[in-house]
Symmetry: C2
Subunit: 210 residues, 2 copies
């Protein structure tokens, strides 16, 4: 039961933070949404809303990261994986009336210059996503540096498209940003094929001329 | 004098909204920062904080849009203009200790699902930026549809890089996103040269064969 109450508090907070931000979400609203007694919030999070928010940022970040990994795992190749991530995000936005985008971006912008412990929590999440993305693109045969650039480009495109899509209530930015991210990955992959500039050991030399 | 007080209120609000968001910014803090009497806020904005916020979103959006236009105007070509925008944004972030990024993104994410008049104000700003960007890329010779896609891709990349850069306190995302946005523009421009697929009237036919 205890675990259930704590989970409900974390889940309700995650939804409220994502939709309306950190500052607008009060502890009373959190316990009401979680159908939890007010005292339970301070039982599980003795330091209050900041401690709760740090846990929400980390757990939402982990959950969203695993979701993206699952989309890539289900795709036949990394290029399709990129497109599927943006298409899935667009579908979720449509289904939730443009409410549910990145679980931590609103909070990240709110706290970046005002709450150092929470800023660090958001930075850890983004760094974790970048590590996963870098590994994913590296496994597709790209050099480490190029793989990290593509991961940054993809996550930046997704985050920026979320801002535009939520404000403008259209999935057009997600569709365009997805196509651009995929084009960048495609160009990097064809560059390997052409120049062989990858971290993989070089292909066996062809039979020498003459 | 009246105009000065009003301008100070709008400017202080813009700075506070950009750095800490809409909800965290109280009217008392705004008038304190603006060195304005409390009553002046309601004199100039009888409907209060929401009316002020709508004006701040529109005027900040206009100012930022003009800044980007000026960067493009000063650049020798549209490709350099794209890179200069991201480099300028990175420089501003470094100079302001990662505080001053997009003037409206924090508010846009906070209000997207909770305050329809303010959401509409942010949507108008983004649409205005997209129109300017589309015109800019179209003047470089790209078809209208392609020009709009590049404008969306560039603004999404910039917004997303701002989120990552502010959270992680590094300009790496802005540098990478800028390079990706420039690569997309370069690819589109060389596609015109190769296929001639632009809105411009076709080049005069070459001398017929034979």
């Amino acid at each position: 039961m205890r675990t259930n109450t704590k989970e409900r508090i974390v889940d309700s907070s995650a939804t409220l933070f994502r939709r309306q931000g950190y500052t607008a979400t009060g502890v009373k609203q959190i316990v009401a949404e979680a159908e939890a007694p007010f005292s339970s919030l301070y039982h599980f999070f003795p330091e209050g809303k900041d401690q709760l928010a740090a846990e929400v940022i980390r757990s939402s970040g982990l959950f969203f990261g695993e979701l993206v990994e699952a989309v890539f795992d289900a795709a036949p190749d990394v290029l399709t994986g990129v497109l599927d991530c943006f298409a899935g995000a667009a579908e979720t936005l449509r289904q939730t009336n443009y409410a549910d985008a990145c679980p931590i971006a609103t909070v990240a912008l709110e706290v970046a210059s005002t709450n150092e412990p929470l800023r660090l929590a958001t930075a850890e999440v983004f760094e974790g996503w970048l590590r996963s993305g870098t590994e994913r693109f590296a496994r597709a045969g790209l050099p480490e540096t190029r793989a990290r650039e593509l991961a940054i480009g993809m996550i930046a495109a997704l985050e920026g498209a979320f801002v535009l899509s939520r404000a403008m209530r259209t999935t057009e930015p997600l569709e365009v940003a997805g196509a651009h991210a995929a084009a960048a990955v495609k160009a990097a992959l064809s560059n390997i094929e052409v120049t062989g500039s990858s971290d993989e050991p070089p292909a066996p030399a062809r039979a020498p001329r003459g």
